[in-house]
Symmetry: C2
Subunit: 230 residues, 2 copies
Amino acid sequence: MKGFDVKQEVTDKYSLRGRVFHKLRDDILSGKYEEHEELKEVAIGEEMGVSRTPVREAFRQLELEGLIQIIPNKGAYVTGITEKDVKDIYMIRSRLEGLCARWATENITKEQMEEMEENVYLAKFHADKGHLEQLAELDNRFHDILYEACDSKMLEHQLKDFHQYVLRVRKKTLSNVNRGPKSNEEHERIMEAIKAKDADLAEQLAYSHMINAYDNMVKEGLQEAYARCE
Amino acid sequence: MKGFDVKQEVTDKYSLRGRVFHKLRDDILSGKYEEHEELKEVAIGEEMGVSRTPVREAFRQLELEGLIQIIPNKGAYVTGITEKDVKDIYMIRSRLEGLCARWATENITKEQMEEMEENVYLAKFHADKGHLEQLAELDNRFHDILYEACDSKMLEHQLKDFHQYVLRVRKKTLSNVNRGPKSNEEHERIMEAIKAKDADLAEQLAYSHMINAYDNMVKEGLQEAYARCE
DNA sequence: TTCCACAGGATTGTATACAATAATACGAGG
DNA sequence: CCTCGTATTATTGTATACAATCCTGTGGAA
């Protein structure tokens, strides 16, 4: 695994490699680079005022994140995501989010439970007001809480990876006026199941939540969403 | 993720970085290095007659594989696997192997099906003869076939990663005289389900297969198994 | 015109020198 | 004797020079 342990959490932001890594990561996720676009070591190095060495190392880390693909003696290319990849990821995630919710039911701490309740409550507020930006933020955070609550570094890492991977695609999708509130309602039900210590229900709800998110995404037009992911 | 696309398949074995990478990978998997042992750039470079540069890059790839952990300004350490990690991985894998078997039912090619039948047939032979080495090899191959047959680069990559990750632990475990034949019987049932196009059954069987493998491993004594994983 | 060979440039791969950081050991002060 | 600070050493981080490889375009021959 590629990489299973905490790593980018450790990846310091102050070394040159770290700075290059974070900059490129943000640029790729924000869509500054086209899919399959070639990243050239010298160009990026000059742009950021560093030598090739930290750039090369940042490349290895980006490959580790699955954001670029390095072909020996040729170059580094921004990873392309096909529609099928997105579908596969959501199907995989649906299973793993289910497992995550199950484990969270068993392991969630009081503090995490409280943050989750606050999250759902706040999201309800922003949903009413139509604050899509905040809603998206809270949605991300909800899942992060769940990942942490499952108390499995392995699963948490996997899910965070996947989550980031589809962020490029999802960015615009959640800004859909209808999905936001509905998504939060589902969050609330998952939370209630966890609170009631009903692991089976929590798993089932988290699973469905992911399937619904994918269905909504497809309905909204996947290709547009990730064609202009900016 | 860490990494989602094909990569080490591409990683050429002839560049210095590639050679260092493969050597270190084998050494770690074969247990030459202790868990949490520090890998020093110069020492390994001298040992292999190369400079630090390819060693450093190989390190990044090993981190990508999850085999080592790099702490900035400190060093690279062989990743430790706790018993809980192993359990988590098996639980995650059980879900994903199930999904994989489902997809394989839908997408397996005639050639893959034939190889699978041959695999099971051969394994039966070696099981009777008590050839544990070949049995382990065929077991690995069976799962690889399944991964390829599911026709999802994403899932295939995930599962291969996990598979390799626990290889250190599993190495000795399958060499158990009882598990080998039983494992192959389960393979046969999975194969029959796929052949009968019964996706639900295939998923269920693959799921159970993984749970059984884990249970057997625990029964055989996990801690010994991976204390002396050599 | 088309194809192949070769030259030139561009880009990545590797080695090495130097800088920055962390680990260690030793000594001064309490 | 213990503790803290400092100097020394070891190790990683970065820059740069050079080598190897790949790509491209040009020119000649069929």
